[in-house]
Symmetry: C2
Subunit: 405 residues, 2 copies
């Protein structure tokens, strides 16, 4: 697990190292970098000596944020785009950390020269959310009051707190106003919170596969994941040793999430009823392909994610309610004045389209400039990662119109 340096680097680099600067290292047999690739990028860390007041009333600080940037901030600082990541994502949204990287960042399809978020035009920023375990302050960070990792001493945070922390980063980067905040799933929640709570600092938002509040079905699925971890004796109420995490529990918890990100048709397509036991289907411990897939992916997740972070972020999702602290949904959305572009996916059963449509209905009654597209996709909640080509043309148009203004 990557957790950033013990003393985060306060000297923030200007942006990515492009592959052209690293020309001599380029070996076509390793990876095929071409002009649409970002090349080598680096995660930066910035420390803020603040005490962030959280929604819970508790204080969190000092604060470290891990982030990456791609492209260059223009002279009038009007081309900054914030990409907000989902539950288990990180700041590494695009490019590669080194030439041996097997995979680029998690939304590399979207970000790069000539891509939807065109780094020749936009200055793209992605920061790891607080509560995570990829460099920003979270349960694995050192609690300054004790000198030891927070673990369950970490405060319960909300999406609103994550966005509040991102303000510090935007200040740090010298940006007054973002062209847009874009993200899927928990990223959509962050985009919406930006639009409502920082109307002077964001000129548009693009929430994708989001919701205005977690449904009891979504909460129930997270409840399964939580209980899977609590049931693991290695969890020790969060006091596991990093080298001995509650692997069985976390792998099972991840499998719950996996199912909720997929869909009935995508699983039919991917696995069908194929069986993988050597002794045939009458072997008690025989597994269907789908079962083996879930187990395998659950296991590999254990190597890259911290269990307490997983639990805190599950809670963030459950607590999410855009109307929290307002007199209902209408009141909350009345503060959203900027243009918004929304996408939901037909087969998403975690945050089904009706949940986005509830928000759109209110926004339209309020004559807000909200554009909504229901995208026909079989890939469930994950559609925003699997089939970006189905909705990205709308994003390009939307950003073109915004930039023209």
């Amino acid at each position: 697990m990557r957790t950033g340096p013990a003393v985060p680097n306060l000297n923030v680099s200007a942006g990515p190292f492009s592959f052209l600067e690293k020309g001599p290292f380029l070996l076509p047999t390793v990876i095929d970098l071409n002009m649409s690739e970002l090349g080598i990028v680096k995660t930066e860390y910035v420390d803020f000596d603040v005490e962030l007041q959280l929604e819970s009333g508790r204080l969190l600080g000092p604060l470290t944020l891990a982030y990456e940037t791609y492209g260059r901030l223009n002279d009038n600082k009007s081309n900054a785009v914030l990409v907000a990541h989902a539950w288990t994502g990180d700041a590494h949204a695009a490019g590669r950390h080194d030439l041996e990287d097997r995979k680029p960042g998690w939304w590399d399809d979207m970000i790069g020269p000539g891509k939807v978020l065109d780094t020749n035009r936009y200055y793209v920023i992605c920061s790891n959310i607080i509560g995570s375990c990829f460099g920003s302050t979270g349960p694995t960070s050192i609690n300054p009051r004790t000198g030891k990792p927070y673990k369950l001493q970490f405060p319960v945070v909300m999406v609103r707190d994550m966005v509040r922390a991102q303000q510090l980063l935007i200040d740090h980067l010298g940006i007054d106003s973002l062209l847009t905040v874009i993200g899927g799933s928990m990223g959509a929640m962050q985009a919406l919170e930006w639009g409502i709570h920082y109307p002077e600092r964001v000129r548009s938002i693009i929430p994708i596969a989001g919701t205005g509040r977690a449904s009891p079905m979504a909460i129930a699925l997270n409840a399964l994941a939580r209980q899977a971890i609590y049931n693991d004796p290695m969890w020790r109420k969060g006091n596991y040793k990093p080298e001995h995490p509650p692997a069985d529990g976390l792998a099972l918890a991840r499998a719950v999430g996996h199912i909720s990100f997929l869909s009935d048709p995508s699983m039919q397509l991917k696995f069908g009823r194929r069986f993988s036991a050597r002794d045939g289907q009458f072997d008690f411990f025989g597994q269907f392909e789908v079962e083996r897939y879930l187990a395998y992916n659950g296991r590999s997740f254990v190597d890259r994610f911290d269990t307490n972070s997983f639990l805190y972020l599950a809670k963030v999702l459950d607590l999410y309610d855009v109307a929290w602290g307002f007199d209902g949904l209408e009141d909350a959305l009345s503060s959203l004045d900027c243009p918004s572009l929304w996408f939901a996916f037909t087969s998403d059963w975690l945050y089904p389209p009706y949940q986005t449509e509830e928000l759109i209905e209110v926004l339209r009654k309020q004559d807000k400039p909200a554009e909504y597209h229901l995208i026909d996709s079989d890939y469930g909640h994950d559609s925003f990662l699997v089939e970006p080509e189905k909705f990205t043309p709308k994003i390009v148009e939307f950003l073109d119109r915004l930039s023209a203004n």
Copy 2:
């Protein structure tokens, strides 16, 4: 947990004790028995000294079946209805075992004098499925080869094997041909297998909320349940002591099932986003109502169900494929000659309506007498238990037409 007598009673009683025979015991302050109630009923046990050849090729025997009957077999033995129960059900479908029983049998809404399955007209039979833990032979039964409980020595069985065992009971009760076989969920699978494999012994079938084969989504949910049990150190590969079951694992496994039986709208209605922590939502261990409900019901399930039985029956569901052993679905359904009456429920996401509709489409192409109704209900897979009034009029008509022939 009830597991039936060690030496099952070979003397089978004629049927239920009606409440009229038990008149003096009737205390209105205890329960309100009226003319539409069956009154006191009793589970019977019958032993078969056979070796049942299973689909896997293994042999299972001797065999005990637990069952209940309500009403009386008519002189020409034409009024017998077999009720097939679901995963965690039992033979106790209607009436009460004693006057202190808080609840009647699991489908008491449907079975009794003047009810849909009118015990003044029909002789209703419900038998516990093999593999279960409520009196019929299953993993808790004694393996005659070892003199000890089977546990994981029990063979993997299929729905087809359950139905084969039910044949023995029908023979035992002196019935040549059943008026119908009716059941929901796994009960629907049994009804379908009866119709296909024993066309000479069944005059109709009524599958409710069923499927022709388990989808990878349904299998994946069972995979979570299985893994929850395997992760529990108390499970000991099935060799737990009955008094020390893997309670954490089984409770979590049951919670997975619960979620799949409910639906997004039914959970919205029942729980909303109500929170139940004393310290408010920023308490790390605070629970939403839905979470508390799942935990509570998971726990209470541990007291009444055997873990190994749960696992074997999950496997039965996963392995279910009506086309198994046939050259595809068309070939399998070509053997279904009797009238069939099918129901699916709009909000059922475990066995969604399209899965029943796939079967109906084939049956209609084959000019088979298949009647299908899609029922609009918000109660998910459980709709067949929660809102029977939405579909039972169709059953009454169907049975009236059959009886008239």
